[in-house]
């Protein structure tokens, strides 16, 4: 899947950000190719969510460069990221609880009538259509999202990311709130999206999820990149070693956060 001759869909080079003197992300470089899933692993506080929020526009990087299809881009806010085809499904889902599924699906990108007013009927129709594909059991189109179950809320968040033809999808703990059946649905969805050539960053601290779904894994520790490895070249124990000790196996490309051993 990884092809070094190809231009990466996303390249984040030497990204850094600090909050009050603490380097949350320190000189991290990762990349993503079309149709590829890159799992981003690490403990809580390792900096994976922060790194990804820089790509989705929630935070502004203080150092480094982001390139999309080889072109350097500036992402100052979520609107910029969406304009570049970067969609994010946040761990918190980031839904407005007091409005219905259609309003959330189109939040920030509402359909409007020729008069410039909200076209609620068209939005609800589109919402019924996309939810019908994603979660055929979903029927509660008039209820505020607050009233929905965890899985239903998750499908609204996923629908929002998919409806607008994302090229790059960021999924932050996409299965954290889900039961086994819904988790299987998400896995199936990821396979479909890959085939469409969409690049996916998958953030998780569940190593099994990541192994099943990803092509490559990048591991972070204390804000630094330990290394990146193709999933089929390493074992789960290797990756656990990267997460816990920062020890980079032979098959992986070591980053600046890798443990330096005297013998090496």
């Amino acid at each position: 899947m990884t092809n070094s001759n190809q231009v990466p869909l996303v390249a984040m080079d030497n990204i850094s950000i600090a909050f009050g003197g603490i380097k949350a992300v320190d000189d991290v470089s990762i990349d993503l190719y079309p149709g590829e899933v890159v799992g981003l692993l690490g403990h809580n506080g390792a900096g994976k969510s922060t790194l990804i929020k820089i790509l989705s526009g929630a935070y502004q990087k203080q150092g480094g460069e982001i390139r999309i299809n080889g072109q350097p881009v500036t992402i100052n806010n979520p609107r910029d990221a969406k304009a570049l085809g970067i969609e994010t499904i946040y761990q918190t889902l980031a839904l407005a609880d007091n409005v219905d599924a259609a309003a959330n699906l189109f939040l920030g990108r509402e359909l409007r009538t020729a008069w410039g007013t909200l076209d609620d009927a068209a939005m609800e129709a589109a919402c019924r259509e996309v939810m019908g594909r994603l979660n055929p059991n979903f029927k509660r189109f008039k209820d505020p999202v607050r009233a929905l179950s965890g899985g239903q809320r998750q499908s609204v968040a996923i629908a929002r990311a998919l409806y607008f033809n994302a090229r790059i999808l960021i999924m932050d703990e996409p299965t954290a709130a889900l039961g086994p059946e819904e988790t299987a649905q998400v896995s199936q969805l990821i396979q479909n999206l890959k085939q469409q050539g969409i690049g996916i960053f998958l953030i998780s601290h569940d190593i099994h999820d990541v192994f099943d779904l990803s092509d490559r894994v990048s591991v972070m520790k204390n804000g630094q990149l330990v290394g990146t490895a193709p999933v089929n070249a390493v074992t789960k124990d290797d990756v656990l070693g990267m997460i816990i000790l920062g020890k980079c196996p032979v098959a992986a490309t070591a980053g600046p956060g890798a443990l330096v051993e005297e013998s090496a």
Binding site: S56, A58, N77, P78, R79, K82, T88, Y90, T92, L93, A94, L95, A96, D97, N98, V99, A103, L107, G108, R109, E110, R112, G116, T117, L118, A121, A122, E124, A125, P144, R146, A147, R160
Partner: protein, 426 residues
Amino acid sequence: MATLLANPVKRFFAATEADLRILGMVAVLAVIWLGFGLASDGAFLSARNLWNLSVQTASVAVMATGMVLVIVTRNIDLSVGSVLGVTGMIIGVTQAELLPALIGYDHPLTWLIALSVGICAGALIGALQGFVIAYLAVPAFIVTLGGLLAWRGAAWLVTSGRTVAPMDSHFQMMGGGPEGSVGGPVTWLIAIAFCALIIAGLLLGRRRRRLHHFPLRPVWAEVVMGVVYCSAVLGAAAVANAYHWPTRVAARYAEAQGMAVPEGGLVISHGFAVPVLMAVAVGIVMTFIATRTRFGRYVFAIGGNPEAAELAGVNTRWVIMKVFILMGILAAIAAAISTARLNAATNAQGTLDELYVIAAAVIGGTSLAGGVGKVAGAMLGALVMQSLQSGMVLVGVDTPLQNMVVGLVLVLAVWVDSLYRKRATL
């Protein structure tokens, strides 16, 4: 037994998709009106008193529509009374002292220019406060608490505390009174136009649902809604028309027009008062903004989850600033109504109005936690507050007791509302 009784009722409300909270407020209002009607031997329910009540409610109702949006975004505006004061002074000075020198005394455009100047001033004040709240991240409570003091001071500064009077004759129409009412025939025309709009709205809504294959309301429910809404409009018109000009005012009018006074005196209906029509127009525009525009959608989304709105690409700061600009404009419109009604601009105008406006919004079902609120509810809330006050004055309750009752009702209303909300979410 209980379920048997409850079922048809439940079915009725489900079919009409009626807003239970608004319905509850109408019921509370009916109880208040009937209670005061009985206690005052019918004086409270007289056409004259109800007409006056509608005029007294107008200014607070106008501001309450904006306060809904402010509170929905999890903010508060304590400065509206003072902003009303300073914009009222600006409107007064513009028409009574600046414009006569420029375009002559009693020019037909004076009222419009004065109102526009006031609205611009209100928008600027709102923009300033909104900027500090949204972009400098100072809590709205503090910014508008400062505004409460500062704009009251500014109102004093406009004329060093001197009262400005009288107002332009056209401008005075915005305050109501015999001259500031549209009269019997026009009132019926407006009422009939409203009924036509209501029926057209129901038909259009039905057509749109059918177009998108959404479930339709049963026909009987549509008919019931149409009948209820139209009778409310026609009833209001009938009451407004049943209040006649005082005999002496009518006689003076007849003299000025060179009309003969018929046997038993001249009977002229007030009809809807201009400030009431202004408030209704503001209510319709604000409902439209809140429910049909992208801006309104963002206001509610921010109230529900500010972080989510920001991450969805909403420019939350600009939306918040616009909400406060809107609030400033509405305070200026309210200022025009109240200066016109008083026929003077004083630096104390609108004192304590912020509390009545916030109370009206909250009684009307706006949640201080944000994300929930209705413009129509807030206007009804303003009517409830004003009904209580006028009713107590009419029945002869002492002033200190009046304030105690109003305070008690406010707390009670919010408590009942929180109970309702808890049940609704379970």
